[in-house]
């Protein structure tokens, strides 16, 4: 660990007298920046826009315990002796509400992305753990395939003045997480509050420009020594309350630990912990419109994986219905799968989640109980990284935040509740779609559902949509000539080419045939590159079968085998009745050289995967496409997380080898 103080000689550290703090404010404001810093409001330290240095919390100290926070009288000469404030800095860099889209004034029904505005701000009083949090959230929000444009704009306009901690709260554990209390990287200017003023270190050209403008004297040895001693005392006071060696592995190896149920009994699922967490980034989209639905807008709002609806999808399915599921998701993500996704822990040890938990749940205590050094490390239930040979999808050729306008050129009714829209577009990004990818389809005054591409045409796409809610109801009522706003394509495609030279098995259940249709198209276009092709299709009733004419057409060919089955039928149906796995029971092929592509309801895919495995198809050649709440399409909103993956970004197509038991265990 690099000690910043030793990297900058004392002679290069300046000294800012206490009464000179106002000059720093003035200099920052003269630089065109709004200054945001700590102040007292409603009995707590919060970070808010400040007019001048007098608003800082002079003479205020804080006491923090699990479920308890109190301000106390401190040294009247000192402004930064409160530990960390209630509000995380993400309120500035990743605000609770951000406009996303508006309708296009002269184009009814179409939407456009809001262009973010760069805002110049200076954050003053940022702690070491908070710098780490800003950096952590920055890694999340800049991760591919598309970063958060609003966050990027805000970050680019932010200057950070850090203040090293001179006091520790009982809830602090930055030392365990390796994020503090010494300030390392991430600040433009670093202050240490000492007797009579502050030592000042400029760490970036922007910081140097501000500090040089203050014409400060050199700090001298004594203030620097005091600053060093103060932060060393803070480190000693905190100790190492949460040993983290092996913690990530132990945590993921204990998904069934009884403590999850115990903590769920205490947890209120109130979301306080995620709202005060400086790295939590889960969001949802809210829609507002005028009464006739013509003028509408959407906003991105903070959300939490603790809410009941966070894992819910249309049709009222919910992938994390229990509090225990949601608590495990949050804690396991923070301390384990965050490493898989972003190369660091998702926790910086600020302790806010402990302080502001109304029932005083202490994550340090829970982690030690579930995954402490004495807890066993069993088999790791999912692999660290996606299997080799199936890289993430290529980036979309359009900015994923941008909507392309497409025209509905034809509508075909498939079943009573399902239609196929043929969309015409010249958008090169959409035309570059690949089998298994999806698009986000926006309509004024509706949520934006992800829809699988059911056919890729030279002049556009086909989307097969089942009416399961308001947004899809609106889509299924469209007629030829309608226009839509579409962004994408998103997600990792089916690895169709990897099946060349071998046999292919395609198993579709219900509307699960829609994302498999481009696979069949791709294979039929280059039929000679594949050996045997078996297509097994299930539907609820004969009337619920999709693409009936097309299926009958390929069933008549001699170079592939098609079998259908329905769950329920009357005496007029002479085909098979039962579940799709029965078709596999009747099969005579073996799977040594076989690749399987499966799509349908989760339970159908699980049963099919077992039947496929019984025929000898390898788990790394058995592919499924998962259904989760995919709200943003690019791994930024958190809704579709499954173990170490975001389904929208890392999937939706996965091999069984990649999924491990996350595919079959409830609540993941």
């Amino acid at each position: 660990m690099i000690d910043a103080r030793t990297s900058i000689p004392p002679s290069r550290q300046a000294f800012l007298p206490r009464d000179g703090l106002g000059r720093l404010f003035t200099a920052l404001q003269a630089d065109g920046r709004e200054v945001i810093g700590p102040t007292v409001r409603d009995g707590a330290i919060v970070y808010e826009p400040l007019d001048d240095a007098t608003a800082l919390p002079y003479g205020v100290a804080a006491r923090s315990e699990p479920g308890r926070y109190r301000l106390e009288t401190g040294d009247p000469e000192r402004a930064f002796d409160y530990g960390v404030g209630l509000t995380p800095w993400k309120r500035v860099t990743f605000p609770p509400v951000v406009p996303l889209t508006t309708t296009v004034d002269d184009e009814p029904g179409l939407v456009q992305a809001v262009v973010p505005h760069r805002r110049a701000v200076a954050l003053i009083g940022v702690r070491a753990c908070e710098l780490a949090a800003i950096a952590t959230q920055d890694r999340v929000l800049r991760a591919g395939p598309a970063g958060d444009v609003d966050h990027a704009a805000r970050q680019s306009g932010t200057l950070v003045v850090a203040v090293e901690c001179a006091a520790a709260l009982s809830t602090c554990f930055c030392t365990s997480m390796g994020t503090g209390p010494e300030v390392e990287d991430g600040a433009d200017i670093v202050l240490s509050e000492v007797d009579g003023g502050f030592t000042v270190r400029a760490r970036t050209p922007d910081g140097e420009r501000v500090v040089d403008g203050l014409s400060l004297p050199a700090a001298g040895d004594e203030p620097v020594a005091q600053a060093t001693a103060q932060v060393a005392a803070v480190r000693a006071a905190i100790g190492d309350p949460l040993p983290t060696d092996g913690l990530a592995d132990r945590l993921r190896a204990n998904p069934d630990h009884p403590r999850w149920a115990e903590v769920a009994e205490r947890c209120l699922a109130c979301t306080n912990c995620t709202l005060v967490c400086p790295t939590c980034f889960c969001t949802s989209v809210t829609v507002a419109s005028d009464l006739d639905g013509v003028a509408a807008s959407t906003e991105r709002t903070w959300d939490s994986c603790f809410t009941l609806g966070f894992g819910r999808i249309a049709g009222d399915a919910n992938f994390r219905p229990k509090v225990a599921d949601r608590y495990r998701q949050w804690l396991t993500h923070k301390f384990s799968t965050w490493w898989d996704q972003f190369g660091s822990s998702g926790c910086v040890g600020c302790g806010r989640c402990i302080t502001w938990c109304p029932v005083g749940i202490d994550v340090r205590e829970e982690l030690l109980a579930i995954a402490g050094p004495t807890e066993p490390v069993g088999p790791i239930p999912w692999p660290i990284a996606p299997a080799d040979g199936h890289a993430p999808a290529p980036l979309a050729t359009v900015a994923p935040a941008r909507y392309a306008t497409v025209h509905v050129s034809a509508v075909r009714r498939e079943t009573a509740d399902t239609i196929t829209l043929r969309l015409a577009t010249a958008d090169t990004g959409l035309l570059a779609s690949r089998p298994g990818q999806f698009v986000m389809v926006a309509q004024a005054a509706q949520t934006v559902p992800p829809i699988s591409i059911s056919r890729i045409r030279p002049d556009g796409l086909e989307l097969t949509v089942r009416n399961v809610g308001p947004a899809t109801a609106a889509l299924t009522s469209l007629g030829p000539g309608a226009r839509l706003s579409v962004r994408g394509p998103f997600g990792r495609p089916w690895p169709v080419e990897s099946a060349q030279g071998g046999d292919v098995v395609i198993v579709g259940g219900g509307i699960g045939l829609a994302p498999l249709r481009p696979v069949i198209d791709a294979i039929m276009r280059e039929r000679h590159r594949y050996r045997a092709l078996y297509v097994y299709l299930g539907a609820r009733t004969p009337r619920d079968r999709l693409f009936v004419d097309e299926v009958q057409a390929i069933a008549g060919r001699t170079d592939l085998e098609v079998a259908e089955i329905v769950d329920r039928a009357g005496p007029e149906w002479f085909g098979r009745v039962g579940v799709v796995t029965q078709l596999l029971d009747q099969a005579t092929w073996t799977g040594e050289r076989t690749t399987a592509f499966i799509c349908g309801p989760d339970r159908m895919m699980q049963a099919t995967a077992r039947a496929i495995a019984a025929r000898g198809v390898a788990v790394d050649r058995t592919w499924v496409t998962l259904e989760r709440n995919m709200a943003c399409g690019v791994g930024l909103c958190g809704h579709c997380q499954l173990g170490p993956y975001f389904v929208c970004r890392d999937g939706p197509v996965f091999s069984l080898a990649e999924l491990g038991d996350t595919f079959t265990v409830e609540g993941r």
Binding site: G315, D316, T472, R568, P571, Q582, P601, P652
Partner: protein, 158 residues
């Protein structure tokens, strides 16, 4: 006898109970016979005594149940290798009807003959009951999946 499908002993091995020893296959073959069912033939009738156990050799049969006031509902279809009439070894009352959907060939064992063989030969009984248990267990699992498909949320337009 129709020889397209092999001997009864071979059919017992290939379609019904591969793990039966040769003596057991011979014992069952002595009481088995093949029947050809025309489309619409009722092989078992719901609520009536189940007088025989059947194994589908060729064709397709439907397992149907009555719904008063409505047409029969097909619960599942039977393909080659599937067993029907498992209740023959229990109380002997058919829980559903079995109807040929197309011309089908079935191997059948009369209940009385079958019970005589299994009750007189513990080895055969173990294999036959295991086979019937698997038939019932498979149907239970499939029925669960069917219930989920029919009444569950299904997959939505993703």
């Amino acid at each position: 006898m129709d020889t397209r499908f092999g001997t009864l002993e071979e059919l017992i091995a290939n379609r019904f109970a591969a793990d039966l020893p040769a003596s057991g296959r011979r014992a069952l073959a002595r009481i088995a016979r093949l029947e050809v069912l025309a489309p619409g033939t009722v092989a078992l009738r719901e609520g009536r005594p189940t007088e025989r156990l059947g194994v589908v050799i060729d064709g397709r049969l439907s397992v149907r149940t009555r719904v008063p006031g409505h047409p029969d509902v097909t619960l599942l279809t039977l393909e080659p290798g599937d067993v029907f009439g498992w209740s023959a070894v229990l109380d002997g009352t058919a829980t559903s009807s079995v109807v040929a959907l197309r011309e089908s060939t079935v191997m059948v064992f009369d209940r009385g003959d079958l019970m005589r063989v299994v009750e007189g030969n513990a080895g055969v009984a173990a294999v036959v009951y295991r086979r019937l248990l698997k038939t019932v267990a498979d149907r239970l699992v499939r029925t669960r999946l069917q219930l989920l498909d029919v009444y569950g949320p299904g997959r939505v337009a993703r």
